[in-house]
């Protein structure tokens, strides 16, 4: 925390420094308080790490981090505040779907691109050319999720347990659709409030439906809670969790043994490594923030780097950045990003599994060029 504050001061100094360098703004408007503060902080860190890296020549890209809390109202206010200052070429915007939906019309009015890692499907379905999602949407991740369950594990009777939040309900809808398309029968599904403490009731009801796999789509804490209770009760049915499982803070809550055999979908797993660039990102991230990076941080990092690349190639206005994002291709650390025409930049997802000895998962399957469409 102290480091990031020092960094902020530093950016302040840089941006106020040499007068000949042109200053462009890329504000970071993410939820730092409230129930999504964990994911929002990852987003912030990813964007900040990218902006702290090599700056485009001749330009200073300054940033200003503003908390959007959890309400659409706060997000819109933050956006309006950020856009009133200097030349803003892009905004790193909240991963909370409702906040994105509220910010989109304003972004279109002001003509400024929003770079986000929100998975909520509908944000790229508004016909709004100013949104760019650097994280596979729910349609994509749930395609990988369901295909792994059905095609790789050969399961036909999944039980789906999801969170009664935007994240959970959106994922649940796509899982249901995808399982139907794959010919698997969902034998049980239930929504769980994030405040629920004892998950044994839902676990026992799910098991009573005799599923051959438990498919989770829960936030970080509840995922860990579910796995711990499942382990305590000796549940034999395999568990394939949602992207929250891959967050290192989820694994930190559990004994490695409690995660044995558990798999999860995600866009990427930076801590699992895979390339020297990825290892360097993870090391830099740890050094800068003292925590482990997750896929949200990586996605926001990649997205922010794509914006910086566009600036380096001469983009000096929001419109130029938008054009570069819409038409360009970016070799990111997690995957290759390219817009499908509606702002979906990410079309890959991976499945990671835990071996029961380490909190760092292994990537076992990679899905590329996913369309997210069942048709």
């Amino acid at each position: 925390m102290r480091r990031s504050l020092a960094f902020l001061l530093l950016t302040g100094i840089i941006s106020a420094g040499p007068a000949r360098a042109e200053t462009l703004n890329m504000p970071v408007l993410v939820p730092l308080t409230g129930f999504l503060s964990l994911e929002g902080t990852s987003q912030r860190n990813g964007a900040v790490l990218a902006l702290r890296g090599a700056q485009p020549p001749g330009v200073t890209v300054a940033t200003d981090v503003v908390d959007t809390g959890t309400s659409p109202e706060a997000a819109v206010t933050a956006l309006e505040r950020a856009l009133g200052r200097g030349t803003t070429v892009a905004v790193a915007a909240s991963m909370l779907g409702t906040q994105m939906l509220a910010m989109l019309p304003l972004a279109a009015d002001y003509k400024v691109p929003l770079v986000t890692v929100s998975g909520t499907a509908s944000i790229t379905e508004q016909g709004n050319p100013w949104v760019f999602r650097f994280f596979p949407g729910d349609a994509v991740t749930k395609e990988a999720h369901a295909r792994y369950v059905v095609e790789e594990l050969g399961k036909r009777r999944p039980a789906v347990i999801y969170q009664t939040t935007a994240y959970g309900q959106s994922g649940r809808a796509h899982l249901a659709e995808r399982f139907r398309a794959l010919g698997a029968e969902v034998v049980y599904e239930e929504g769980v409030d994030p405040a629920a403490r004892d998950l044994l009731p839902v676990l026992s009801k799910a098991l009573a439906a005799r599923p051959d796999v438990l498919v989770l789509h829960l936030h970080s804490g509840p995922t860990a809670l579910f796995l711990r209770q499942a382990a305590a009760h000796g549940v034999e049915v395999p568990i394939v969790a949602g992207s929250a499982m891959h967050q290192p803070s989820t694994a930190a809550l559990l004994d490695p043994a409690e995660m044995k055999g558990v798999c999860a979908e995600t866009a990427a797993s930076p801590v699992s490594g895979g390339s020297p660039e990825m290892d360097r990102f993870t090391a830099d991230y740890r050094a800068a923030f003292g925590t482990e990076p997750d896929a949200f941080a990586l996605g926001q990092y990649d997205g922010t780097r794509m914006v910086l690349d566009a600036i380096a190639r001469g983009a000096r206005t929001a419109e130029a950045v938008r054009a570069a994002l819409a038409d360009g291709t970016h070799e990111g650390l997690a995957m290759t990003y390219r817009s499908d025409g509606t702002g979906n930049m990410a079309h890959s997802a991976v499945i990671v599994c835990y071996d029961g000895t380490s909190r760092v998962p292994q990537v076992v399957r990679r899905y590329d060029a996913l369309s997210g469409s069942t048709r």
């Binding site: 239930e190 403490r197 009731p201 839902v202 860990a224 925590t291």
Partner: protein, 290 residues
């Protein structure tokens, strides 16, 4: 067998909720004011325990006294900052001042310790016992034992000791207590310290099995408020019973119906209790004047 297992889980959860509600009732009785920061105090206790654990690698049982002491200190600060300056104001002023303290706690914890969910160390061991096919987490037994000990201890202090008599006298009629030579201000501060210590115990216990995030307080204060109202405003046994009832809904009813429906059923039951038995299940000793 499943029913027994659920009952066991429900009792453990209810015992933890009872500790949350107990701290709430203590302040309520001593000051007539609703301490809305109680849920955030529980959260702070949990985060504190989780943060202390890596520094002091001892079982939770040995960590507990330290957490209790630190939280009692926080309780004193709370009374100094949010209650004593407002003691002669309408109770709703304290409602707001404790909301303000809750906001500070929740965000202060995020700034200091980060937004990650955390787990506190188990009281004794993190294992489970197998009792005739029943999976009994050691922590569940520990929660029930600690809660019973603290609730029993509180009843003993209030019933049998000079301190307890003074606390009760302060709660019943501060003016009269002061006239009888009871140091009312000190007693009120002691009550806040005690309530915060209970919150610390609840936080430590809950944060092992169920983890803790900086935003956990909001849900807990709601549960405590409901428990205290169901049980009869200000009644200690009522608050314990109310807490158990809530846990029963969360664990029992949700094992039959879905969790959101169980939550809805809890609120509908609450409304029914209020409409048909407005004095709470255990009654409130409040006669009107005239």
């Amino acid at each position: 067998m499943l029913a027994l297992q659920l009952l066991l889980n429900g009792i453990a959860l209810g015992a933890a909720y009872a500790l949350v509600a107990l701290g709430f009732v203590l302040v309520l009785n001593a000051t007539g004011a609703v301490n809305f920061a109680q849920g955030d105090l529980v959260m702070a206790g949990g985060i504190l325990a989780a943060a202390l654990a890596p520094l002091l690698p001892v079982p939770g049982l040995l960590l507990l006294p330290l957490v209790l002491a630190l939280m009692a200190g926080l309780g004193l600060l709370l009374s100094l900052a949010a209650y004593l300056p407002l003691r002669h104001r309408p109770p709703v002023a304290v409602f707001i001042s404790t909301i303000a303290v809750g906001i500070m706690l929740q965000n202060g914890v995020t700034v200091l310790f980060g937004p990650e969910p955390r787990a506190a160390p188990p009281l004794l061991g993190g294992g489970t016992l197998d009792l005739a096919g029943l999976v009994v987490p050691e922590q569940s037994l520990a929660i029930v034992a600690v809660a019973a000990l603290l609730i029993g201890g509180q009843q003993w202090v209030f019933g049998r000791t000079q301190l307890g008599r003074r606390l009760r006298a302060t709660a019943q009629d501060p003016e009269m207590a002061r006239a009888c030579g009871v140091p009312v201000t000190a007693m009120v501060m002691a009550t806040f310290a005690l309530a915060a210590a209970y919150a610390g115990a609840a936080g430590l216990l809950l944060a092992n099995q169920f983890f803790v995030t900086p935003t956990a307080g909001g849900d807990l204060i709601l549960k405590a408020y409901i428990a205290v109202t169901i049980g009869g405003w200000g009644s200690v046994p009522g608050a314990v019973a109310g807490a158990l009832l809530i846990a029963l809904f969360e664990v029992g009813v949700s094992s039959v119906l879905s969790y959101p429906v169980a939550l809805g059923a809890l609120y509908v039951t609450l409304l029914a209790i209020l409409v048909f038995r407005p004095q709470g299940l255990f009654g409130e000793v409040a006669r009107r004047r005239a």
